[in-house]
Protein backbone atom coordinates (compact mmCIF):
# COMPACT_ATOMS: atom_id res chain seq x y z
CA UNK A 1 0.00 0.00 0.00
CA UNK A 2 1.33 3.40 -1.01
CA UNK A 3 2.43 5.54 1.94
CA UNK A 4 0.69 8.89 2.08
CA UNK A 5 2.95 11.93 2.32
CA UNK A 6 1.55 14.59 4.59
CA UNK A 7 3.25 17.96 4.78
CA UNK A 8 2.94 19.93 7.99
CA UNK A 9 0.54 22.81 7.99
CA UNK A 10 1.74 26.28 7.07
CA UNK A 11 -0.38 29.06 5.74
CA UNK A 12 0.64 31.43 2.94
CA UNK A 13 1.33 34.15 5.48
CA UNK A 14 3.65 31.83 7.41
CA UNK A 15 5.59 31.07 4.25
CA UNK A 16 5.87 34.77 3.45
CA UNK A 17 6.91 35.59 7.01
CA UNK A 18 9.60 32.89 6.92
CA UNK A 19 11.05 34.29 3.71
CA UNK A 20 10.89 37.94 4.77
CA UNK A 21 12.14 37.51 8.31
CA UNK A 22 15.03 35.22 7.42
CA UNK A 23 16.04 37.36 4.45
CA UNK A 24 15.92 40.63 6.37
CA UNK A 25 17.70 39.09 9.35
CA UNK A 26 20.54 37.91 7.15
CA UNK A 27 20.60 41.06 5.05
CA UNK A 28 20.68 43.24 8.16
CA UNK A 29 23.51 41.15 9.59
CA UNK A 30 25.50 41.40 6.34
CA UNK A 31 25.02 45.14 5.89
CA UNK A 32 28.45 45.06 7.47
CA UNK A 33 30.83 42.25 6.49
CA UNK A 34 34.53 41.57 6.64
CA UNK A 35 34.72 40.95 2.91
CA UNK A 36 32.29 41.62 0.07
CA UNK A 37 33.00 39.58 -3.06
CA UNK A 38 31.43 41.15 -6.14
CA UNK A 39 30.83 38.41 -8.68
CA UNK A 40 29.97 34.79 -7.90
CA UNK A 41 31.98 33.07 -10.63
CA UNK A 42 34.70 30.48 -9.99
CA UNK A 43 37.31 32.93 -8.66
CA UNK A 44 34.82 34.75 -6.42
CA UNK A 45 33.39 31.52 -5.02
CA UNK A 46 36.88 30.15 -4.43
CA UNK A 47 37.96 33.28 -2.60
CA UNK A 48 34.72 33.32 -0.58
CA UNK A 49 35.11 29.68 0.35
CA UNK A 50 38.71 30.11 1.50
CA UNK A 51 37.87 33.13 3.61
CA UNK A 52 34.64 31.82 5.11
CA UNK A 53 36.33 28.54 6.07
CA UNK A 54 38.65 30.63 8.26
CA UNK A 55 35.77 32.32 10.02
CA UNK A 56 35.72 35.48 7.91
CA UNK A 57 32.30 37.04 7.36
CA UNK A 58 31.82 37.00 3.58
CA UNK A 59 28.99 38.28 1.42
CA UNK A 60 28.98 37.37 -2.28
CA UNK A 61 27.07 39.81 -4.49
CA UNK A 62 25.87 38.21 -7.72
CA UNK A 63 23.86 40.00 -10.39
CA UNK A 64 22.35 36.80 -11.78
CA UNK A 65 19.97 34.42 -10.09
CA UNK A 66 22.50 31.62 -10.51
CA UNK A 67 26.05 31.38 -9.16
CA UNK A 68 29.08 29.91 -10.90
CA UNK A 69 29.55 32.30 -13.84
CA UNK A 70 31.01 30.46 -16.81
CA UNK A 71 32.16 27.47 -14.77
CA UNK A 72 29.12 25.43 -15.84
CA UNK A 73 30.42 25.05 -19.38
CA UNK A 74 33.74 24.90 -21.22
CA UNK A 75 34.48 26.19 -24.73
CA UNK A 76 31.85 26.24 -27.47
CA UNK A 77 28.99 25.66 -24.98
CA UNK A 78 30.25 22.16 -24.22
CA UNK A 79 29.85 21.29 -20.58
CA UNK A 80 33.31 19.90 -19.91
CA UNK A 81 35.75 22.15 -18.10
CA UNK A 82 39.52 21.87 -18.24
CA UNK A 83 42.26 22.88 -15.84
CA UNK A 84 46.01 22.59 -16.14
CA UNK A 85 48.33 21.38 -13.43
CA UNK A 86 48.63 22.34 -10.61
CA UNK A 87 44.97 23.49 -10.51
CA UNK A 88 43.73 19.88 -10.42
CA UNK A 89 44.76 19.93 -6.76
CA UNK A 90 41.87 22.33 -6.14
CA UNK A 91 39.50 19.91 -7.87
CA UNK A 92 40.75 17.16 -5.56
CA UNK A 93 40.33 19.42 -2.55
CA UNK A 94 36.72 20.12 -3.53
CA UNK A 95 36.15 16.41 -4.25
CA UNK A 96 35.30 17.10 -7.86
CA UNK A 97 35.82 14.02 -10.05
CA UNK A 98 38.21 14.59 -12.99
CA UNK A 99 40.49 12.70 -15.30
CA UNK A 100 43.83 13.42 -16.89
CA UNK A 101 43.24 14.05 -20.57
CA UNK A 102 46.81 14.63 -21.67
CA UNK A 103 49.86 15.11 -19.48
CA UNK A 104 49.10 18.00 -17.13
CA UNK A 105 45.67 18.70 -18.64
CA UNK A 106 42.63 17.64 -16.64
CA UNK A 107 38.97 17.56 -17.58
CA UNK A 108 35.90 17.55 -15.35
CA UNK A 109 32.16 17.63 -15.81
CA UNK A 110 31.10 21.29 -15.77
CA UNK A 111 27.81 21.03 -13.85
CA UNK A 112 29.38 18.68 -11.30
CA UNK A 113 32.44 20.89 -10.80
CA UNK A 114 30.42 24.09 -10.57
CA UNK A 115 27.79 22.75 -8.18
CA UNK A 116 30.50 21.27 -5.93
CA UNK A 117 32.29 24.63 -5.83
CA UNK A 118 29.06 26.46 -4.96
CA UNK A 119 28.26 23.89 -2.28
CA UNK A 120 31.78 24.12 -0.84
CA UNK A 121 31.52 27.90 -0.62
CA UNK A 122 28.07 27.71 1.01
CA UNK A 123 29.23 24.98 3.41
CA UNK A 124 32.16 27.16 4.39
CA UNK A 125 29.71 29.87 5.38
CA UNK A 126 29.49 32.49 2.67
CA UNK A 127 26.21 34.36 2.34
CA UNK A 128 24.86 35.33 -1.03
CA UNK A 129 23.00 38.34 -2.33
CA UNK A 130 21.94 37.13 -5.75
CA UNK A 131 19.90 39.11 -8.26
CA UNK A 132 21.82 41.99 -6.78
CA UNK A 133 23.82 44.30 -8.98
CA UNK A 134 26.87 46.32 -8.02
CA UNK A 135 26.28 50.01 -8.71
CA UNK A 136 28.98 51.95 -6.94
CA UNK A 137 31.65 51.95 -4.25
CA UNK A 138 31.70 53.25 -0.72
CA UNK A 139 34.89 55.26 -0.28
CA UNK A 140 36.34 56.49 3.00
CA UNK A 141 39.40 58.50 4.01
CA UNK A 142 42.11 58.61 1.32
CA UNK A 143 39.66 56.98 -1.08
CA UNK A 144 39.95 53.62 0.65
CA UNK A 145 37.32 51.20 -0.61
CA UNK A 146 35.02 50.40 2.30
CA UNK A 147 31.94 48.85 0.78
CA UNK A 148 29.62 48.71 -2.19
CA UNK A 149 26.35 50.26 -3.32
CA UNK A 150 23.91 47.71 -4.71
CA UNK A 151 20.44 47.42 -6.14
CA UNK A 152 18.14 44.69 -7.35
CA UNK A 153 19.26 43.54 -10.79
CA UNK A 154 15.82 43.93 -12.45
CA UNK A 155 15.69 47.60 -11.49
CA UNK A 156 18.30 48.42 -14.09
CA UNK A 157 16.38 46.62 -16.82
CA UNK A 158 13.30 48.82 -16.52
CA UNK A 159 12.78 52.43 -17.60
CA UNK A 160 13.92 54.87 -14.95
CA UNK A 161 10.53 56.62 -14.73
CA UNK A 162 8.91 53.32 -13.78
CA UNK A 163 11.53 52.09 -11.37
CA UNK A 164 13.05 55.01 -9.59
CA UNK A 165 14.47 52.78 -6.89
CA UNK A 166 17.43 54.07 -4.96
CA UNK A 167 20.21 51.61 -4.17
CA UNK A 168 21.51 50.71 -0.71
CA UNK A 169 25.04 50.66 0.66
CA UNK A 170 26.82 47.72 2.28
CA UNK A 171 30.02 48.20 4.24
CA UNK A 172 33.04 45.94 4.51
CA UNK A 173 36.72 46.04 5.40
CA UNK A 174 37.68 44.67 1.99
CA UNK A 175 35.97 44.43 -1.40
CA UNK A 176 37.01 41.81 -3.95
CA UNK A 177 36.38 42.42 -7.64
CA UNK A 178 35.70 39.09 -9.33
CA UNK A 179 33.43 40.40 -12.06
CA UNK A 180 35.37 38.89 -14.94
CA UNK A 181 36.55 40.84 -17.98
CA UNK A 182 34.08 43.63 -17.11
CA UNK A 183 36.07 44.44 -13.94
CA UNK A 184 33.01 46.45 -12.81
CA UNK A 185 34.42 47.53 -9.46
CA UNK A 186 37.79 48.60 -10.82
CA UNK A 187 36.03 50.42 -13.68
CA UNK A 188 34.02 52.39 -11.13
CA UNK A 189 37.27 53.58 -9.57
CA UNK A 190 38.48 54.48 -13.05
CA UNK A 191 35.36 56.59 -13.64
CA UNK A 192 36.36 58.58 -10.60
CA UNK A 193 39.90 58.98 -11.85
CA UNK A 194 41.36 56.91 -9.03
CA UNK A 195 42.84 54.13 -11.11
CA UNK A 196 43.80 53.58 -14.76
CA UNK A 197 43.04 50.18 -16.20
CA UNK A 198 44.61 48.80 -19.32
CA UNK A 199 41.96 46.57 -20.85
CA UNK A 200 42.85 43.03 -21.78
CA UNK A 201 45.39 42.51 -24.52
CA UNK A 202 44.13 41.20 -27.81
CA UNK A 203 46.91 38.66 -28.15
CA UNK A 204 46.57 35.06 -27.24
CA UNK A 205 49.85 34.11 -25.71
CA UNK A 206 50.33 30.63 -24.48
CA UNK A 207 51.38 29.93 -20.91
CA UNK A 208 50.13 33.32 -19.74
CA UNK A 209 47.65 31.71 -17.36
CA UNK A 210 50.08 32.18 -14.50
CA UNK A 211 50.09 35.93 -15.06
CA UNK A 212 46.56 36.25 -13.69
CA UNK A 213 47.54 34.48 -10.50
CA UNK A 214 50.77 36.47 -10.15
CA UNK A 215 48.96 39.80 -10.60
CA UNK A 216 46.19 38.93 -8.16
CA UNK A 217 46.32 41.33 -5.25
CA UNK A 218 45.35 44.71 -3.85
CA UNK A 219 44.90 47.03 -6.82
CA UNK A 220 43.74 49.98 -4.72
CA UNK A 221 43.49 50.44 -0.93
CA UNK A 222 40.72 48.12 0.24
CA UNK A 223 40.14 46.56 -3.19
CA UNK A 224 41.50 43.18 -4.26
CA UNK A 225 41.17 42.12 -7.85
CA UNK A 226 40.95 38.44 -8.82
CA UNK A 227 40.11 36.22 -11.79
CA UNK A 228 39.62 37.62 -15.27
CA UNK A 229 39.19 41.12 -13.81
CA UNK A 230 42.96 40.96 -13.26
CA UNK A 231 43.48 40.74 -17.05
CA UNK A 232 41.43 43.87 -17.66
CA UNK A 233 43.01 45.81 -14.82
CA UNK A 234 46.60 45.13 -15.82
CA UNK A 235 46.29 44.65 -19.58
CA UNK A 236 47.22 40.99 -19.58
CA UNK A 237 46.55 38.77 -22.57
CA UNK A 238 43.01 37.60 -22.97
CA UNK A 239 42.52 33.91 -22.32
CA UNK A 240 40.03 31.26 -23.26
CA UNK A 241 38.10 29.15 -20.78
CA UNK A 242 41.06 28.43 -18.53
CA UNK A 243 39.50 27.81 -15.15
CA UNK A 244 42.65 26.73 -13.35
CA UNK A 245 43.87 30.29 -13.04
CA UNK A 246 40.43 31.41 -11.85
CA UNK A 247 40.49 28.92 -8.99
CA UNK A 248 44.10 29.67 -8.04
CA UNK A 249 43.57 33.42 -8.37
CA UNK A 250 40.60 33.10 -5.98
CA UNK A 251 42.81 31.26 -3.50
CA UNK A 252 45.54 33.87 -3.77
CA UNK A 253 43.01 36.70 -3.40
CA UNK A 254 41.83 35.10 -0.17
CA UNK A 255 45.43 34.91 1.13
CA UNK A 256 45.92 38.60 0.37
CA UNK A 257 42.63 39.45 2.10
CA UNK A 258 43.64 37.49 5.20
CA UNK A 259 46.92 39.38 5.40
CA UNK A 260 45.08 42.68 5.08
CA UNK A 261 42.53 41.71 7.72
CA UNK A 262 45.38 40.77 10.07
CA UNK A 263 46.75 44.27 9.71
CA UNK A 264 43.32 45.81 10.22
Amino acid sequence: MEKKVTFSKASEKDVTRAIVSEFTKQFSEYVESDVIVVGGGPSGLMAGRELASKGIKVLVVERNNYLGGGFWIGGYLMNKVTVRAPAQEVLSELQIPYKEFTEGLYVADGPHACSKLIAAACDAGIKIANMTIFEDLVLRENNKVSGVVVNWTPVGALPREITCVDPVALESKIVIDSTGHDACVVKKLEERGLIKTSGYGAMWVEQSEGLVVEHTGEAHPGLIVIGMAVSTTFGLPRMGPTFGSMLLSGKKGAEVALEMLDQH
Binding site: E206, H215, G235
Partner: protein, 277 residues
Protein backbone atom coordinates in the same frame (compact mmCIF):
# COMPACT_ATOMS: atom_id res chain seq x y z
CA UNK B 1 94.06 46.56 -45.37
CA UNK B 2 90.69 48.11 -46.20
CA UNK B 3 87.64 45.96 -45.66
CA UNK B 4 83.86 46.27 -45.90
CA UNK B 5 83.15 45.70 -42.23
CA UNK B 6 81.55 48.36 -40.10
CA UNK B 7 83.14 47.11 -36.92
CA UNK B 8 84.87 43.92 -35.87
CA UNK B 9 84.20 43.27 -32.22
CA UNK B 10 86.73 41.77 -29.86
CA UNK B 11 84.30 40.47 -27.28
CA UNK B 12 80.91 38.80 -27.42
CA UNK B 13 79.02 38.43 -24.15
CA UNK B 14 76.10 36.03 -24.14
CA UNK B 15 73.59 36.30 -21.32
CA UNK B 16 71.64 33.16 -20.61
CA UNK B 17 68.18 34.23 -19.41
CA UNK B 18 66.52 30.90 -20.08
CA UNK B 19 67.16 27.54 -18.46
CA UNK B 20 70.01 25.35 -19.67
CA UNK B 21 67.38 22.72 -20.45
CA UNK B 22 65.82 25.17 -22.93
CA UNK B 23 68.89 26.57 -24.63
CA UNK B 24 72.46 25.28 -24.64
CA UNK B 25 74.36 28.54 -24.17
CA UNK B 26 77.78 26.88 -24.43
CA UNK B 27 76.90 25.48 -27.85
CA UNK B 28 75.90 28.94 -29.02
CA UNK B 29 79.13 30.42 -27.64
CA UNK B 30 81.15 27.75 -29.49
CA UNK B 31 79.24 28.49 -32.67
CA UNK B 32 80.11 32.19 -32.44
CA UNK B 33 83.76 31.32 -31.81
CA UNK B 34 83.76 29.43 -35.12
CA UNK B 35 82.41 32.44 -37.00
CA UNK B 36 84.50 35.10 -35.34
CA UNK B 37 87.67 33.32 -34.30
CA UNK B 38 89.45 36.36 -32.94
CA UNK B 39 86.68 37.35 -30.52
CA UNK B 40 86.56 36.29 -26.92
CA UNK B 41 83.13 34.83 -26.31
CA UNK B 42 81.88 34.37 -22.78
CA UNK B 43 78.67 32.97 -21.38
CA UNK B 44 77.18 34.99 -18.54
CA UNK B 45 74.24 34.72 -16.19
CA UNK B 46 70.85 36.29 -16.90
CA UNK B 47 71.39 39.89 -18.00
CA UNK B 48 69.72 41.91 -15.24
CA UNK B 49 71.05 39.84 -12.37
CA UNK B 50 74.52 39.93 -13.94
CA UNK B 51 74.44 43.75 -14.20
CA UNK B 52 73.00 44.12 -10.71
CA UNK B 53 75.78 42.02 -9.19
CA UNK B 54 78.23 44.92 -9.71
CA UNK B 55 76.29 47.10 -7.29
CA UNK B 56 75.66 46.94 -3.59
CA UNK B 57 73.72 48.70 -0.86
CA UNK B 58 71.60 51.71 -1.73
CA UNK B 59 72.79 51.93 -5.34
CA UNK B 60 71.74 48.32 -5.91
CA UNK B 61 68.31 48.92 -4.37
CA UNK B 62 67.83 52.08 -6.46
CA UNK B 63 68.67 50.33 -9.73
CA UNK B 64 66.47 47.39 -8.82
CA UNK B 65 63.49 49.59 -7.95
CA UNK B 66 63.90 51.93 -10.90
CA UNK B 67 64.24 49.06 -13.38
CA UNK B 68 61.04 47.50 -12.01
CA UNK B 69 59.19 50.80 -12.46
CA UNK B 70 60.51 51.23 -16.00
CA UNK B 71 59.64 47.64 -16.94
CA UNK B 72 56.08 48.19 -15.74
CA UNK B 73 55.93 51.42 -17.75
CA UNK B 74 57.07 49.97 -21.07
CA UNK B 75 54.45 47.23 -21.25
CA UNK B 76 52.50 47.25 -24.51
CA UNK B 77 48.98 47.56 -23.16
CA UNK B 78 47.19 47.83 -26.47
CA UNK B 79 48.82 46.45 -29.61
CA UNK B 80 46.89 48.91 -31.77
CA UNK B 81 48.13 52.05 -30.02
CA UNK B 82 51.65 53.39 -30.34
CA UNK B 83 53.76 54.73 -27.50
CA UNK B 84 51.26 54.56 -24.72
CA UNK B 85 53.11 55.00 -21.49
CA UNK B 86 51.12 55.17 -18.32
CA UNK B 87 51.94 55.28 -14.67
CA UNK B 88 51.96 51.68 -13.50
CA UNK B 89 49.97 50.53 -10.49
CA UNK B 90 51.93 49.42 -7.41
CA UNK B 91 50.94 45.81 -8.00
CA UNK B 92 52.44 45.92 -11.49
CA UNK B 93 55.73 47.22 -10.09
CA UNK B 94 55.71 44.51 -7.44
CA UNK B 95 55.20 41.93 -10.15
CA UNK B 96 58.17 43.27 -12.10
CA UNK B 97 60.33 43.17 -8.96
CA UNK B 98 59.52 39.52 -8.40
CA UNK B 99 60.15 38.84 -12.06
CA UNK B 100 63.50 40.62 -12.11
CA UNK B 101 64.77 38.46 -9.29
CA UNK B 102 64.25 35.32 -11.34
CA UNK B 103 67.35 34.25 -13.21
CA UNK B 104 65.40 32.08 -15.66
CA UNK B 105 61.85 31.12 -16.39
CA UNK B 106 60.26 34.54 -16.28
CA UNK B 107 56.56 34.41 -16.87
CA UNK B 108 55.54 34.57 -20.48
CA UNK B 109 52.72 36.70 -21.74
CA UNK B 110 53.61 40.31 -21.07
CA UNK B 111 54.67 42.20 -24.14
CA UNK B 112 57.28 44.93 -23.70
CA UNK B 113 58.04 47.78 -26.10
CA UNK B 114 61.15 46.34 -27.74
CA UNK B 115 63.18 49.47 -28.42
CA UNK B 116 62.42 50.91 -24.99
CA UNK B 117 63.47 47.62 -23.43
CA UNK B 118 66.72 47.78 -25.41
CA UNK B 119 67.36 51.36 -24.19
CA UNK B 120 66.65 50.31 -20.63
CA UNK B 121 69.08 47.41 -20.88
CA UNK B 122 71.75 49.57 -22.53
CA UNK B 123 71.82 51.82 -19.46
CA UNK B 124 72.48 48.79 -17.28
CA UNK B 125 75.60 47.73 -19.17
CA UNK B 126 78.88 48.59 -17.53
CA UNK B 127 80.38 51.72 -19.17
CA UNK B 128 83.65 49.94 -20.00
CA UNK B 129 81.72 47.45 -22.10
CA UNK B 130 79.43 49.95 -23.78
CA UNK B 131 81.17 50.27 -27.16
CA UNK B 132 81.46 48.55 -30.53
CA UNK B 133 84.24 46.27 -29.29
CA UNK B 134 81.78 44.56 -26.97
CA UNK B 135 78.69 42.81 -28.27
CA UNK B 136 75.99 41.86 -25.80
CA UNK B 137 73.57 39.13 -26.86
CA UNK B 138 70.76 38.79 -24.34
CA UNK B 139 68.88 35.51 -24.57
CA UNK B 140 65.58 35.87 -22.75
CA UNK B 141 62.13 34.35 -22.60
CA UNK B 142 60.52 37.76 -22.31
CA UNK B 143 58.32 38.86 -25.17
CA UNK B 144 58.79 42.18 -26.87
CA UNK B 145 57.17 43.92 -29.79
CA UNK B 146 57.88 46.78 -32.15
CA UNK B 147 55.50 49.11 -33.93
CA UNK B 148 54.80 48.31 -37.56
CA UNK B 149 54.34 51.51 -39.55
CA UNK B 150 52.65 49.67 -42.40
CA UNK B 151 49.70 48.19 -40.60
CA UNK B 152 49.79 50.43 -37.53
CA UNK B 153 50.03 47.91 -34.77
CA UNK B 154 52.63 46.26 -32.59
CA UNK B 155 54.03 42.91 -33.63
CA UNK B 156 55.86 40.46 -31.39
CA UNK B 157 59.48 40.03 -32.47
CA UNK B 158 62.01 37.27 -32.20
CA UNK B 159 64.95 39.66 -31.94
CA UNK B 160 66.07 43.27 -31.84
CA UNK B 161 69.63 43.94 -32.95
CA UNK B 162 71.94 46.64 -31.70
CA UNK B 163 73.59 47.41 -28.43
CA UNK B 164 72.52 45.17 -26.80
CA UNK B 165 70.89 42.59 -29.06
CA UNK B 166 67.78 40.95 -27.62
CA UNK B 167 66.89 37.40 -28.61
CA UNK B 168 63.61 36.01 -27.34
CA UNK B 169 62.90 32.29 -27.17
CA UNK B 170 59.21 33.10 -26.57
CA UNK B 171 59.37 35.37 -29.60
CA UNK B 172 60.69 32.50 -31.72
CA UNK B 173 57.59 30.52 -30.70
CA UNK B 174 55.04 33.31 -30.93
CA UNK B 175 56.21 35.77 -33.58
CA UNK B 176 56.66 33.82 -36.84
CA UNK B 177 53.28 32.64 -38.10
CA UNK B 178 52.33 29.02 -37.57
CA UNK B 179 50.54 27.07 -40.32
CA UNK B 180 47.22 28.64 -41.30
CA UNK B 181 45.30 25.44 -40.53
CA UNK B 182 46.62 25.50 -36.97
CA UNK B 183 44.95 28.86 -36.28
CA UNK B 184 41.74 27.87 -38.04
CA UNK B 185 41.41 24.67 -36.03
CA UNK B 186 42.20 26.52 -32.80
CA UNK B 187 39.50 29.07 -33.56
CA UNK B 188 37.09 26.21 -34.07
CA UNK B 189 37.82 25.10 -30.53
CA UNK B 190 40.10 22.12 -31.10
CA UNK B 191 42.12 21.19 -28.05
CA UNK B 192 45.40 23.18 -28.19
CA UNK B 193 47.41 20.28 -26.77
CA UNK B 194 46.21 17.87 -29.44
CA UNK B 195 46.74 20.52 -32.09
CA UNK B 196 50.31 20.93 -30.96
CA UNK B 197 50.92 17.23 -31.27
CA UNK B 198 49.49 17.29 -34.79
CA UNK B 199 51.63 20.24 -35.89
CA UNK B 200 54.74 19.72 -33.76
CA UNK B 201 57.02 19.36 -36.79
CA UNK B 202 55.69 22.58 -38.30
CA UNK B 203 56.72 25.07 -35.68
CA UNK B 204 59.17 25.67 -32.86
CA UNK B 205 57.51 25.27 -29.50
CA UNK B 206 58.44 26.11 -25.90
CA UNK B 207 61.10 23.71 -24.61
CA UNK B 208 61.71 22.60 -28.18
CA UNK B 209 64.96 20.61 -28.59
CA UNK B 210 65.53 22.53 -31.85
CA UNK B 211 65.66 25.89 -30.04
CA UNK B 212 69.48 25.99 -29.67
CA UNK B 213 70.01 25.33 -33.38
CA UNK B 214 67.49 27.97 -34.33
CA UNK B 215 69.08 30.50 -31.99
CA UNK B 216 72.41 30.04 -33.75
CA UNK B 217 70.86 31.71 -36.78
CA UNK B 218 69.66 34.62 -34.68
CA UNK B 219 73.03 35.21 -33.02
CA UNK B 220 74.57 35.07 -36.52
CA UNK B 221 72.11 37.79 -37.60
CA UNK B 222 73.02 39.85 -34.52
CA UNK B 223 76.70 39.47 -35.38
CA UNK B 224 76.19 40.46 -39.02
CA UNK B 225 74.29 43.54 -37.86
CA UNK B 226 77.51 44.72 -36.23
CA UNK B 227 79.90 43.47 -38.89
CA UNK B 228 78.08 44.51 -42.03
CA UNK B 229 75.47 46.98 -40.78
CA UNK B 230 72.56 44.76 -41.85
CA UNK B 231 71.50 41.47 -40.25
CA UNK B 232 69.33 39.87 -42.93
CA UNK B 233 69.60 38.06 -46.24
CA UNK B 234 66.99 37.54 -48.94
CA UNK B 235 68.13 33.99 -49.66
CA UNK B 236 65.65 31.62 -47.98
CA UNK B 237 68.42 29.06 -47.51
CA UNK B 238 70.70 31.43 -45.62
CA UNK B 239 70.74 31.49 -41.82
CA UNK B 240 70.36 35.25 -42.08
CA UNK B 241 66.96 35.00 -43.77
CA UNK B 242 64.40 37.10 -41.92
CA UNK B 243 61.69 34.45 -41.49
CA UNK B 244 58.11 35.60 -40.99
CA UNK B 245 56.70 32.10 -40.95
CA UNK B 246 57.66 29.11 -38.85
CA UNK B 247 58.11 27.01 -41.99
CA UNK B 248 60.64 29.54 -43.34
CA UNK B 249 62.41 29.68 -39.99
CA UNK B 250 62.77 25.90 -39.72
CA UNK B 251 63.95 25.69 -43.32
CA UNK B 252 66.54 28.47 -43.06
CA UNK B 253 67.94 27.28 -39.75
CA UNK B 254 67.71 23.50 -40.01
CA UNK B 255 66.83 22.15 -43.43
CA UNK B 256 68.74 24.39 -45.79
CA UNK B 257 71.37 22.81 -48.08
CA UNK B 258 73.93 25.35 -46.89
CA UNK B 259 74.51 27.51 -43.83
CA UNK B 260 75.23 30.88 -45.40
CA UNK B 261 74.48 32.05 -48.92
CA UNK B 262 77.49 32.56 -51.25
CA UNK B 263 77.49 36.34 -50.61
CA UNK B 264 77.56 36.04 -46.84
CA UNK B 265 79.96 33.12 -46.90
CA UNK B 266 82.29 35.27 -49.00
CA UNK B 267 82.00 38.00 -46.38
CA UNK B 268 82.94 35.53 -43.67
CA UNK B 269 85.90 34.32 -45.72
CA UNK B 270 86.99 37.91 -46.16
CA UNK B 271 86.61 38.46 -42.44
CA UNK B 272 88.94 35.55 -41.79
CA UNK B 273 91.51 37.06 -44.15
CA UNK B 274 91.27 40.42 -42.43
CA UNK B 275 91.69 38.85 -39.01
CA UNK B 276 94.67 36.75 -40.11
CA UNK B 277 96.53 39.80 -41.42
Amino acid sequence: MSHPFVAIPSYIHIYQGVGADQVNGSEIADYLKLILKRAKVDLRLEFFNFCLSFYSGEAKADIFNETAVQMAKIKVRDVTKKDILSEPMPLEIEYEKKNLLKSTGRTFGILYEGFKLQQLYLKLINKEERDLQHLHFIITDQLFATWDHHNHRYHARTSIYGLPSLLSTSGIVEAPAKPRDFYLKRQLGEDPHLLKEEYQESFIDYSDPRMTDVLKGYVAQALFYHLAGYPFCEDKNCRLFNAHRQSELIHAQMLSPYEFCPTHQALLDQLEEVLSD
